[in-house]
């Protein structure tokens, strides 16, 4: 747990509850993803519902995975490296949101 223990705990559970149905949707989608070519995949992601659900999966997933990995880092790393790893963990989550958000936005509005 990070220092803000209680709010992390609650956010971890709340994000898990949202991720559960999103993951089931996602697992169905991945079947078609395996076979999709560029045009088909872009057409798919241009649909507002798909864009919204995939964006939600990335954003909620980023929140959830950041808290989860922070907990693991705090469990195993006790040296100065801990703060470095926690910082990289933040960057990875924010980067994921930024990159996925930008890509989905671009595709949705560029058609």
């Amino acid at each position: 747990m990070s220092k803000k223990g209680t709010s992390s705990f609650i956010l971890q559970r709340a994000s898990a509850v949202v991720l559960a149905p999103l993951s089931i949707w996602f697992l169905f989608e991945i079947v078609s993803a395996l076979t999709a070519d560029y045009a088909a995949a872009r057409a798919w992601l241009s649909a507002p519902l798909n864009a919204a659900l995939l964006g939600g999966f990335f954003i909620i997933g980023a929140l959830h995975m950041r808290i989860g990995l922070a907990e693991i880092i705090v469990d195993y790393v006790h040296s100065w490296a801990k703060d470095v790893l926690l910082f990289i963990n933040w960057l990875a989550a924010l980067g994921l949101i930024a990159v996925a958000g930008w890509s989905i936005y671009t595709i949705s509005f560029a058609g």
Binding site: V31, L45, M65, A92, W102
Partner: protein
Amino acid sequence: MADGAASKRPLSPHLQIWRFTVTLAASITHRGTGVVLYGGLLLMALWVIGLALSPELFAVVSAIIHSPLGFILIVGFVWSLLFHLMNGLRHLYWDYGRGFAMKTATMTAWLVYIAATLATALIIWAGYGGGA
């Protein structure tokens, strides 16, 4: 531990003398799959960047997905997501204060391993073979 065999006092848990239990395994696997999914989400971001930036970049990512390595990654990711999802529901049920009885916990742990494996096989079969 000077004299472990003769001691009548209860011993504290020790890594090397822990008996295998499926509930212990499930809890380690939950952590492991959490880390796998972390990497998986980052890889997926690559897929979307490729899709956003250019057909050429997408073709590279697509080639990886269709390579043998990509197949292994996808099977691993799908299994991890299914396991973590189902086992996560166990965790949420515990947080709600239920399901702690040893028999129940053991049963649900086996169930998660079996169900995740069967569902993975089904999804991969549908994706690579039968379905598409």
